[in-house]
C-alpha cells in the first residue's frame, strides 16, 4: 500500500470500489508472477538446448586451429627450403595433434567410450568428419615429423636419406591438407547446428576459425624466434582478414536471432577477440611491434573461441532467438 507503482494504485482503487459497490466491473491488474505470464514462448523456457560443452572445446578449437595451420606453414616452408622453420612448425603441429584428442576426450560424457567415434564414417555429421580429419592429421604429422628430423639431422646417408626426404615431403604435404581442414571444419561443426546465432553465421565461422588458426601458427613461430618476412606477411594477412570479419559481423546483424553476438558477456568476448586479432594486431605490426602483434593475435584467437561457445549457450537458451531466426 505504500508502493506508488501504477498496478498497486489500480489495486487500491479496485479495493475501494469493491468495498463501496460490492462488484468491480472491467479488468483487474496483471501482477508480477500472476497467472498469465508475459515471457516469450513457454514460460521463457529454451526452445533448443544450449551446448553442454565446457572449456575443453573452445581450447581445442584454438589448439587444433594453430596446430593444423602450423602444418600448412611447415609445408610451404619445406617447399621453399626453410628446413629449420619447417621443423619448428612440424613440432608445433605434432604438439597440437597430441593435445587435440586429449582435450576432445576430456570433454566427452563418457571418455572411456571415445573409440566408438571410429565405428562409423558419416559425411553428414561434421563431428564424425572432424574425428576422421584429426585421425588422418595425426597419422601424417607424427611420422612426418620423425622423417623430417631424421633427414635434417642427417642420421642416414645416401639413398636412405633421399627416401626419408621424399617421405617427409609427402607426409608434410598430407599434414598440411588435413591440418587446413582441421582448422576450418570446427566452423562447420558449430555452424551446422540448431543454434540460431551459430547457423546464421555458418559461412563466417570457418573463415574466422581457419584464419585465426593460420595467424596463431604464424604468431607462435614468430614468438619462437623465427622472425622472417614470410611469417610477418602471413601475420598481416590474418589480421587483415580478421579486421574484415569484424566489419562483416557488425554489418550482418539478425536482430533478436543473433543478439548473443552483440549483447551480453558473450558479445564482449566476441568483440574483444575480434579487436585483438584484427585491428590491434594489424596496427602493432604496422609499427613493427611484431612480438606484441603476435601476443595480441594469440590472446584474441583464444578469447574469440570461448566467445563463440558462450554465444551458443546464450543463443540456445533464448527462445526469442529461435523464433526470430525463422525470418532468415
Amino acid at each position: 500500500m505504500t508502493s506508488n507503482s501504477p498496478s498497486e494504485k489500480r489495486l487500491e482503487e479496485l479495493r475501494e470500489q469493491a468495498w463501496k459497490d460490492g462488484v468491480v466491473p472491467g479488468k483487474g491488474v496483471d501482477v508480477a508472477g500472476g497467472p498469465i505470464p508475459r515471457q516469450p514462448g513457454y514460460y521463457g523456457q529454451p526452445v533448443v538446448k544450449p551446448p553442454v560443452w565446457t572449456w575443453e572445446i573452445p581450447f581445442y578449437f584454438f589448439i587444433g586451429g594453430a596446430g593444423g595451420m602450423s602444418a600448412v606453414i611447415a609445408s610451404a616452408a619445406f617447399t621453399f627450403h626453410h628446413v629449420d622453420l619447417a621443423r619448428a612448425a612440424m613440432w608445433l603441429a605434432a604438439a597440437g595433434s597430441i593435445l587435440s584428442p586429449i582435450l576432445l576426450i576430456m570433454d566427452l560424457g563418457r571418455p572411456r567410450l571415445f573409440i566408438n567415434m571410429l565405428r562409423v564414417f558419416k559425411p553428414q555429421s561434421a563431428m564424425s568428419m572432424g574425428v576422421w580429419i584429426l585421425v588422418m592429421f595425426i597419422t601424417c604429422v607424427v611420422p612426418g615429423l620423425i622423417a623430417l628430423e631424421l633427414h635434417a639431422l642427417q642420421v642416414f646417408t645416401g639413398p636412405m636419406d633421399q627416401l626419408l626426404r621424399i617421405a617427409a615431403s609427402f607426409l608434410i604435404f598430407g599434414s598440411a591438407i588435413f591440418g587446413m581442414l582441421l582448422a576450418t571444419y570446427t566452423g562447420v561443426l558449430i555452424g551446422a547446428t540448431a543454434i540460431p546465432a551459430w547457423f546464421l553465421h555458418r559461412v563466417l565461422l570457418p573463415i574466422h576459425f581457419g584464419t585465426a588458426g593460420l595467424g596463431s601458427a604464424a604468431a607462435l613461430l614468430e614468438l619462437l624466434g623465427h622472425r622472417i618476412a614470410a611469417l610477418n606477411a602471413l601475420g598481416y594477412y590474418a589480421a587483415a582478414v580478421e579486421s574484415a570479419l569484424l566489419i562483416w559481423l557488425s554489418v550482418d546483424k539478425h536482430g533478436a536471432a543473433d543478439r548473443a553476438i552483440h549483447e551480453h558477456a558473450s558479445g564482449w568476448l566476441i568483440r574483444i577477440g575480434e579487436i585483438l586479432t584484427g585491428p590491434l594486431a594489424l596496427v602493432l605490426r604496422l609499427f613493427s611491434l611484431v612480438p606484441f602483434a603476435a601476443i595480441s593475435f594469440l590472446i584474441g584467437a583464444l578469447v574469440s573461441r570461448f566467445g563463440w561457445i558462450a554465444v551458443g549457450k546464450v543463443s540456445g537458451s533464448d527462445p526469442e532467438s529461435v523464433f526470430a531466426a525463422e525470418h532468415y
Binding site: G26, A76, G109, A183, R202, I207
Partner: protein, 288 residues
C-alpha cells in the same frame, strides 16, 4: 480409440515391430486433463532417475522442459483467450469480456522424419528403428554432446553427474523395448483420456485431421495440427494438435534439420583452407 475399450490401439497387443509398420503418437490437448500419468509411467517403466524437484511458479508445471531425465512433459498454458465456445466474462456478473483458458499438452520427442540428432551422431549410437522411431543406444553413446545442439526441438540432452548412467545422451525411446514385445508405449497405455494416442502413423494422421475439423466446428477456431511436413524436418512421428500458435508451447514454427546448413558451411571451410595454403605458399615465394 475412445469407446473401443480393450480394442483401442492404446490397449491391444500389436506386432508393429515385426511387421515393420510406421507408428506414432498423436497428442491432443483438447482432451488432456493434466494428470501427468504419462510422465510418471514413463519414468517408472524406463527407470529414468529423479533429477530434482523445484517449484517453478509456472502454473502446475514443475517439470520444466524435456531433457535427459524427462521424456514426457505435461505443459500447462494459462492464456487470456477463449477455449471453444465457453462462456466468458468475470463470473458472469458483467458484460465485460475476460476470457481465460487452461491448456494442457504432453510434450515428447518428435521422432522426426529427418532427425537432426540421428544425422549428427558420430558414433552411430542413434538409429532408426523398424517402426520409424529414433532410438539412442545407451551402451554405444560416448556423450560427445553433438546431438544436443543438432535437435531443432531441444529434446535430447546429456545427463549430468551424479545421476545414474551420467554422461550419455538420453531421450524418449518410444518404449522400443515394450513395442518389441507387442506392448503399447507406457505413456499412451496409462493416458486416462486417450489424449495420447498410439497407433499406425497413417491412421493417426487421418484421425488428427478429423479431430481438428471437429474442434473447429465446435468453436475452437485456433485448433491446428503441429506437424512441420513442409520444412526440412519433413514431418514428425509424434505430432500434436495445438490450440493457438506453436510458439506458446515452446515449439519452433519452422524447425529445420541442421544438415541443410552443411553445404554452405563446408564450401566456406574448403575455400578458407585453400586460401590459407595459397597465402602460406605466396608468403614464402615472395617474402624470402
Amino acid at each position: 480409440m475412445i469407446g473401443e475399450g480393450i480394442q483401442s490401439t492404446n490397449q491391444r497387443k500389436h506386432s508393429y515391430v515385426q511387421d515393420r509398420v510406421e507408428v506414432g503418437f498423436f497428442t491432443d490437448p483438447s482432451v488432456c486433463i493434466g494428470c501427468k500419468a504419462c510422465e510418471v509411467a514413463c519414468k517408472e517403466w524406463n527407470q529414468v532417475p529423479d533429477d530434482g524437484f523445484t517449484w517453478s511458479g509456472n502454473s502446475y508445471d514443475n517439470t520444466g522442459h524435456l531433457g535427459a531425465s524427462t521424456w514426457r512433459h505435461v505443459m500447462f498454458l494459462e492464456q487470456d483467450r477463449q477455449k471453444g465456445n465457453q462462456i466468458t466474462g468475470p463470473m458472469g456478473l458483467t458484460e465485460a469480456e475476460d476470457p481465460f483458458r487452461w491448456v494442457f499438452l504432453s510434450d515428447v520427442c518428435k521422432h522426426c522424419e529427418e532427425a537432426g540428432c540421428l544425422e549428427a551422431c558420430p558414433t552411430g549410437s542413434i538409429v532408426r528403428t523398424e517402426v520409424g522411431s529414433v532410438l539412442v543406444q545407451n551402451d554405444v553413446c560416448n556423450g560427445c554432446g553433438y546431438c544436443v545442439v543438432s535437435c531443432p526441438f531441444g529434446v535430447i540432452d546429456r545427463r549430468p553427474e551424479p545421476l545414474p548412467d551420467a554422461g550419455g545422451a538420453f531421450k524418449c525411446t518410444f518404449c522400443y523395448d515394450r513395442q518389441k514385445s507387442g506392448l503399447v508405449p507406457a505413456c499412451a497405455k496409462v493416458c486416462p483420456t486417450e489424449s495420447i494416442v498410439f497407433g499406425r502413423l497413417d491412421d493417426l494422421r487421418a484421425r488428427g485431421a478429423e479431430r481438428v475439423q471437429q474442434l473447429q466446428q465446435s468453436g475452437y477456431n485456433d485448433a491446428q495440427l503441429y506437424d512441420p511436413t513442409e520444412t526440412s524436418v519433413r514431418g514428425i512421428h509424434a505430432f500434436f494438435l495445438i490450440l493457438g500458435e506453436p510458439e506458446a508451447y515452446g515449439l519452433p514454427p519452422k524447425p529445420q534439420i541442421p544438415t541443410i546448413y552443411l553445404k554452405s558451411a563446408w564450401t566456406s571451410a574448403f575455400a578458407t583452407a585453400i586460401a590459407s595454403l595459397i597465402a602460406a605458399l605466396a608468403a614464402f615465394a615472395f617474402f624470402s
